[in-house]
Symmetry: C2
DNA sequence: TCTTGACCTGGAGCCCACTCCAGGCCTGAC
DNA sequence: GTCAGGCCTGGAGTGGGCTCCAGGTCAAGA
């Protein structure tokens, strides 16, 4: 009964991902290290693993493709010396996200306008053809 | 030589979509009306078609799934009387987009923080271990 | 001791939104 | 007239990101 680390189900609950997704990420090289196993082969997630998963979840949820997350992970795994490259990667992602945010906000404005038109129309239903 | 309307290639250039995507949207019921054809069977897009395509492009680019765009299209095609339903659909979409924007902004904040850490680290490269 | 249920793996399946043929017709410039 | 090139259709293929499954191992509570 070793108490070291969480089961995959617990890690899933903690991070908001599914166990399947956690395994998929690990297979895909998105973990900083292979998740340690008990003798039975069951994974035991440490707090540091959860911290990493939470980080890459933020990258993913802002639209970073898995291959870029993998690239970033590889850089981090490689240790000191490539910080400039990691910074480049994050900055490039930042630019993409900002552009995307601006576009969505712009288009949402147009949709809001449309919503306004319908609201007006529904407020005075009998005057619309007058 | 009728001058009525643009070819699919011109419509694609105007809207920023591809000809394939325009055909795919039409097949999928995302057009307000079937695009008129010349005797040869070639499509001729009117200005009103482009206006519609630009609208649904905004819906799509804010993340509305195709099935919802189709639903909205069907409502519009059905004519007057279902404005409340259209409004509901747009408002629901608006809520989803706002939630998504907030999430992305939040996560981007965390990424910005990370970027800041790397910037600090790279500014004083020899002091980082001191 | 038994049995329930979490976990394992490799691989197939799924959903979404396009994207790309092949095979054929049409048109317009030369 | 001819021929390059745009357009047509139905359908297959692609890429991304999971999601599910079969078949098997293992641990802990009744």
């Amino acid at each position: 009964m070793d108490r070291t680390g969480l089961t995959i189900a617990e890690a899933a609950a903690e991070t908001g991902l599914t166990a399947d997704t956690l395994r998929y990420y690990e297979r895909g090289g998105l973990m900083l290290r292979p998740i340690p196993r008990a003798a039975s082969g069951h994974r035991h997630y440490a707090e540091s693993d959860l911290t990493w998963i939470r980080l890459i979840t933020k990258l993913r949820s802002t639209g970073m493709p898995i291959r870029d997350v993998r690239r970033y992970t590889e850089l981090c795994r490689a240790g000191d010396g490539n910080e400039a490259e990691r910074l480049d990667l994050l900055r490039a992602h930042r630019q993409v996200v900002l552009a995307r945010l601006a576009e969505v906000q712009d288009h949402l404005g147009a949709i809001d306008y449309k919503i306004g038109l319908y609201e007006d129309r529904l407020e005075r239903p009998l005057r619309s053809t007058a």
